[in-house]
Amino acid sequence: MSGSPAGREPLPTFAGTPPFPEAARTALADEQLRRNLRHATTTIRTKRGRAVAERPDWEALRLAGAAIKDDVIARWPELLTQLEANVTAAGGIVHWARDGAEANAIVAGIVRAAGATEVVKVKSMTTQEIELNEALAREGIEAWETDLAELIVQLGRDLPSHILVPAIHRNRDEIRDIFRAEMGAAGRPAPADLSNEPRELAEAARLHLREKFLRAKVAISGANFAIAETGTVMVVESEGNGRMCLTLPETLVTVMGIEKLLPTWRDLEVFLQLLPRSSTAERMNPYTSMWTGVTPGDGPQAFHLVLLDNGRTDVLLDEVGRQALRCIKCSACLNVCPVYERVGGRAYGSPYPGPIGAILTPQLRGIARHPVDEQTASLPYASSLCGACFEVCPVRIDIPEVLIQLRTQVVRQHGWRARTFGEEPVAMRALSTAFANPGRLDLAERVAGGAGRVVGRRGRIGRLPLPGLLGAWFRRRDLPAPARTSFRRWWRSRSSRGES
């Protein structure tokens, strides 16, 4: 059947993911998933803390990173055309794509022109976003993922659950079973006596993929950064699968979101500090490859760069939301998010999970221009607004600020229907009604104060069987009990005693 590299069941996609509360409920019931996630996020969080603490200038790097990225979108057309000119001058071919379908068609055309029926791929968020593998499969082209985690996800006919470590929901026993069952159909089989030791599993992947690297005619990658000033494109990685793909095949196709630009070569002195320490929590990732066009006698002799919009120019429309275009896909915000840690990545219904996904996906899907579907509209509610994501973001994206902005958009677009994916918009509207009228606020505070006297013995309000809006709010949270006297009552009693 088309859609699968091994010619069997189709590969799953994120299409059809239910709205976040429902997807989260399913994920929360999976004990193994929660254990794996807790272990992963705690480990990376701790390591990142150490890697960042080592730089006394971390805040200065973040400020520089945010400003450089803001400069990119302020001068976007100029820098994009500069990049295009420099890549072309160095022997590369630049293509532009308005959306995923256009990009996929361009890539398929290049692969066919190279006479290839298979490609090797470097881990790339952008090609996941446009579902390139599925599009190539429909054209009869097999796309082999070569990052170890992506290989686990692909062989397991699974969906990724983390930007950096996509197979983090799988433990070593599951991975061994997937390798034993599936590697043979895709190429070199796993050894029959394969154990669950990570070292042995990595060795099995090395042998399985080596034959693919050596025979591949075409490789496909994303890009972490591209330098307008020089036309240089780069990929950071750990395993060496990226180097294999970027070096051995005759033809290289890089699909790059148009926001991945940096103005100057020098700007890398900021981003090569920010990215590895935020992402893998290392001083530097094991391998970074940089290339400018084509080098005779060294590496691919044909280089195609596909510049992809696919909703990025829609993100530009929202003055608050556009800071999401600074994102360098480090995944630090996932690892500190209490919501992500409990539900994992697949509940977000897109390759971009966690806090960044909650603000990026709705914007890429055009929330600034038109009403979005319910799953998309539920994403800005996938947060407790605790702010940890902003604290760790290497380019200072104020994710809580954007979440609130997007919630406003959702309420504007969906109105009362918003209660199907989160009660806050409804409660917030009630709150704004109360705040708009002093009499109503007074009444609301007295009701709340009364409720506090009834149930607030330990100073908390738990799950109250309240009807209507208040009940909807409390179904998902407990709160400190309100003060017995409202501020307005207290103020009036002060004033009447002449203390003002």
Binding site: A74, H95, A105, G109, A167, A202, G240, L248
Partner: protein
């Protein structure tokens, strides 16, 4: 080249004759985005003068579980020979322009191969080890950078063999990333290497060595 490969020529939807390039640029130009007031660059671009740069480099490379050897110009050849022997290498590919005196300590047990004329990827894959110099090295991050210059060879040379011995001269080591960038030519293919190939994809358990050389020896001269 076939029609779909010509840049900017693919047209789906939009105004008749409007290229994707025109469409994307027009969408961006429709929104005026104010530039940032300034780009503050108050971060560090060099190490404090009290830091012993070579010492820091050695320590940081070792943190990645690469093997670090300190040598002098007098015992460099012996150190290189020892590193290769320690890794059990029986064949070695030698990039063009590698100083011949680095190899005078090698015994007859190691078969030497030149990459001129270029070896096939299959041939390279069958060779145990590669020895290279580098373009620049960074103390703070324990990184070596190869730029395919003399004594380094094309990128495949330092990729397919499973053992990489890299000789770094003291004057090639800088403190910070910023200093390395200033020395590098972006128009050359660059490979930044910080330790051996590694993965943490299985339960975040770090394994050194997947596809790139699983063994990295760095010989610091000076």
């Amino acid at each position: 080249m076939a029609e779909p490969l010509e840049p900017g020529r693919i047209v789906t939807g939009g105004a008749p004759g409007e290229t994707a390039r025109d469409a994307v640029l027009a969408r961006i130009r429709a929104v005026a985005v104010p530039p940032p007031a300034a780009i503050p660059r108050d971060y560090l671009t060099s190490l404090s003068p009290d830091v012993d740069i070579l010492e820091r480099f050695a320590e940081r490379v070792a943190d990645y579980r690469a093997l670090v050897h300190r040598a002098t110009s007098g015992n460099l050849a012996a150190t290189v020979a020892e590193a290769l022997k320690g890794r059990g290498a029986r064949s070695l590919v030698i990039p063009a322009g590698l100083p011949a005196d680095w190899l005078i300590g090698l015994g007859p047990g190691i078969e030497r191969q030149s990459d001129d004329p270029p070896l096939t990827y299959g041939q390279l894959d069958a060779i145990d080890a590669v020895i290279t110099g580098c373009a620049v090295a960074i103390a703070e991050t324990g990184t070596i950078v190869l730029d395919a210059g003399p004594g380094q060879g094309r990128r495949a040379l330092s990729l397919l063999p499973d053992r990489h011995v890299c000789v770094v001269r003291a004057e090639q080591v800088v403190g910070e990333v910023a200093e390395a960038l200033a020395r590098l030519d972006p128009h050359r293919p660059l490979t930044w290497i910080s330790g051996p190939s590694a993965t943490s994809d299985i339960e975040l358990d770090r394994v050194e060595g997947v596809h790139g050389p699983r063994n990295l020896d760095v010989v610091i001269v000076g």
